[in-house]
């Protein structure tokens, strides 16, 4: 008996040593492959049907739009369109297209293709009109040719005409300031009409209330014009894209990019530390010191394009009075919170949009932390010290603009209590309750929330927050002056005039104080030091085109 036991133990030990030594391959020795870890799998590789950053990260490598944002900035530059002009007070847009561009399947990119894309979106029917299918199209263009669902806006788009190979004319039913800036986002990329037709890109159904694409286009045959093209997608495990050697512009340096979903942020960090991946997105802020402290790793910063703010709900309670809102603004120690809990990645916000965006007003009313002034204001209002308020914050979440909601809340609670308020805390998990409560205005007098911009236009910030419906529901106010300014700015065709209007709006907002913006954060990515030229875009994407490993 003893002999057998001994032999067994020796055998086990031998196996263990074998496993460790033989199998110890690090993630990527080949320098022309980059392995990137995101947080989740894409939904579809047809960006027109998606609304999540994980999908866009992949599709932005394979598809291009008429225009794009200069990598790492919010400046609009030509992409598939070389020149453009708007006429007829912004209702007609002419695009002159780039010559000699081909889709990955070899078919030519031309004006007919552009119109095919626009018309595809406009003609969507049935299941495709569900908001879970075409969120961004509905957000910008409203409705479709035949609105089959109640609640859809009348369509913004009228028609598209191809004049020759390289001139496309898009007509809208009314002027829109958001049409042009929105062309940069992934859902409005140009896709190959031939491939879409061949592989059933417009086949879908609604099952139990959710949209499902049933053609194979979105899973196996995404076809764009970008510097990378599709190789394979093992659902739940990895997406593989390879260099497009026939790309019209600067060819990618990497021959292959593999994108792998790892949902836990600690697991992503550990995968990087173990060199199982070369880089990853959505680095938790508390891991930034670990990344910087590691001699083979580094932090890549994403330019700030978000805002975290404190909603002030005026519907009922003391917040109706401007003085009380001002007291809140003076009572929030925004500088302290940003310094303590953003790990060097945050800046105090003075307005509801980031400074890099046009329309940002250089001079607005500011509210430095001043407990004495806050108490004075309260005592001269109808809510004397201590003024009782309910303050909500989310749990079980970390947002790019607010990586640590709990600590932010505790910092604010302490400073408000110092400033004459008596704060009752409330919390709810981010999913499913918190956001819904904030949006419908049932999250107390104050709550923490924020926004990351989708595209570089002020309407995507202040328009989203303070349009009539949301102003009413989330913030509990209705202000004719702000509302009319918003609409005017949204539909103004002249760019310089628009900028001025938004600046004026921002000044008004910071006087009216529907809420208190407090931070712009630079979310971070983690990467190996030997990864170069990996560019993180403000709106949440990543550029692999210029990147190299080693």
């Amino acid at each position: 008996m003893r002999g057998i036991a001994l032999k067994a133990i020796l055998a086990l030990a031998a196996c263990a040593v074998l496993v460790v030594t033989l199998g110890n391959s690090s993630g990527s020795k080949a320098s022309s492959t980059l392995i990137f870890a995101g947080a989740a799998d894409p939904t579809y590789l047809d960006p027109a049907l998606a609304s999540d950053g994980e999908t866009f990260r992949v599709t932005e490598q394979m598809y291009e739009g008429l225009v794009a944002l200069k990598p790492g900035t919010t400046k609009v530059i030509p992409k598939l369109a070389l020149k453009w002009k708007s006429a007829n007070r912004g209702k007609t847009w002419t695009f002159w297209l780039r010559h000699g561009v081909k889709f990955h399947d070899g078919t030519p990119f031309n004006a007919a293709a552009v119109c095919a894309n626009f018309n595809r979106w406009y003609n969507w029917s049935g299941a495709f009109q569900d908001p879970s299918a075409t969120f961004y199209y509905q957000a910008i263009y409203g409705g479709f040719k035949h609105n089959e669902v109640s609640g859809l806006q009348p369509p913004l788009y009228r028609s598209c005409a191809a004049k020759g190979q390289y001139k496309a004319i898009v007509k809208l039913r009314k002027a829109s300031g958001t049409f042009f800036p929105s062309l940069v986002i992934a859902p409005f990329s140009m896709q190959s009409p031939t491939a879409m037709r061949k592989y059933g890109a417009d086949q879908g159904e609604l099952r139990n209330g959710t949209f499902r694409a049933t053609g194979s286009y979105a899973f196996e045959h995404p076809t764009g014009t970008g510097p990378f093209k599709f190789k394979s997608w093992t659902i739940g495990q990895k997406v593989e894209i390879v260099r497009n050697d026939k790309y019209w512009g600067q060819k990618a340096k990497l021959s292959r990019v593999i994108i792998q979903p790892i949902s836990d942020s600690t697991a992503r960090l550990q995968a990087l530390q173990n060199h199982d991946v070369n880089a990853y997105d959505l680095a938790a802020p508390q891991d930034i010191p670990t990344l910087s402290g590691n001699s083979s790793l580094k932090v890549i910063k994403r330019p700030a394009f978000n805002v975290a703010y404190v909603t002030i709900h005026q519907g009922s309670g003391p917040m109706k009075e401007l003085k009380v809102r001002q007291a809140v603004a003076y009572g929030l120690n925004r500088k302290g919170v940003v310094n303590q809990f953003y790990y060097g990645t945050g800046k105090v916000a003075q307005e509801f949009m980031p400074p890099s965006l046009y329309g940002y007003a250089k001079k607005v009313q500011t509210y430095a932390y001043n407990p004495t002034k806050a108490k004075q204001l309260l005592n001269s209002s109808s809510c004397h010290v201590p003024c009782h308020i309910d303050f909500w914050y989310p749990t079980a979440v970390s947002r790019p603009y607010m990586p640590d909601p709990v600590r932010n809340f505790q910092g604010f609670q302490a400073s408000l209590e110092n400033s004459g308020f008596s704060v009752t805390p409330h919390s709810a998990p981010w999913r499913p309750t918190y956001v819904a409560k904030v949006n419908e205005g049932s999250a107390g007098d104050l709550n923490l929330i924020g926004w990351t911009g989708d595209y570089a236009d002020p309407d995507n910030f202040v328009g989203t927050f303070f349009n009539q419906t949301t102003a009413n529901a989330q913030f509990g106010f209705s202000n004719a002056s702000i509302n009319s300014l918003l609409l005017k700015a949204k539909n103004e065709a002249n760019f310089a005039k628009r900028v001025a209007l938004y600046q004026k709006l921002n000044q008004q907002l910071m006087k009216y104080l529907p809420g208190v913006p407090y931070a712009h954060a630079t979310p971070a990515l983690g990467a190996e030091k030997r990864v170069h030229n990996l560019i993180a875009t403000p709106v949440g994407g990543v550029w692999f085109q210029y990147a190299t490993v080693g």
Binding site: M1, A5, A8, V19, V20, L22, G23, N24, G27, S28, A30, I35, A40, D41, T43, Y44, S51, D130, P131, S132, F135, V149, S150, G151, L152, R207, N208, G209, T210, F211, R212, I235, G236, Q237, K238, E240, I258, Q260, P261, I262, S263, D264, A267, Q270, A271, Q273, N274, D276, A396, R431, P432, T433, V435, A436, N439, I449, G450, T469, T470, A473
Partner: protein, 334 residues
Amino acid sequence: MLRYVVRRLLLLIPILFGLSILVFFWVRALPGSPISSILGERATPALIQQYKERYGLDEPIYKQYVKQLRAWSHADFGTSIATHRTITYEIKQRFPATVELAVAAMIFAISIGLPLGFFAAKKYGGLFDHASLFISLIGISIPVFFLAIILKYIFAVRLGWLPTVGRQSVLIETEHPTNFYILDAIITRDWAALWDAIRHLILPAIALGSIPLAIITRITRASVLDVQNEDYVRTARAKGLAPITVDQRHVLRNAMLPITTIIGLQVGLLLSGAVLTETVFAWPGIGSWLRDAIFNRDYPVIQGGILFVALIFVLVNLIVDISYAIINPRIRYS
């Protein structure tokens, strides 16, 4: 015998029926709206209202139940809100991963637990016995996810011996006819892939197998202790048979019987433990699928997933019960 089988099968019907009702009403009791889950900050009240209007869940409840039953009978378990793929598809993808992990965990547990328990019984009262009892106690006292985190931290992150996440290195290209990676690698004779798959299995299997290991050790020990003193063993020894032969022919074989009874229990433990283990190791199985669904409030997945797991559990228990009845006639008449 046949009567027993038929009886057990008939018992299945009310259980399945009860399960379907339980899950159906339970899903409707879940809070929150799926649309706010998907869209996050972008779920404006207008959108939520549009959604509610469209899928007016205002039909009478029994009609909904019948519709749901009909759907279930066609193996239509719905569509995931997060990934837009059918539940059936996801299960087909993910179930083999969990099975592979569970089997690996059981192999680990049995190959170490059985000899450990056996020798502990042989050296009853000695140091080895107490040590193995202690180890098994620790095994059931450590939360599975804590063990997984510690293992990962030590062996993957700190020492770098084993990979941190997933089933397979993303650099390996290989076919997956069966979706059981070890099998696939053997079928396609891709030895690098086989090695890679094994390396990825080791840590999760150890973490998941820790509890079955503990239980098997103790059951084996108790069982061997029992059998050793049975008359037929004493007779065999008295006959002059060599100790090894006695052990092999009589003790081991009979000691293994109780293990089969607890396999049903083990499957339940493995399925539950898988939720935690798969999350820590990003193992693409049913466990992490359920965990993500809970986190994302992906109700069709939670419903379909739990229903599926319950079905498996019930079926396994059925098979175990029937096979135990075949082995041990006394049970049939209880």
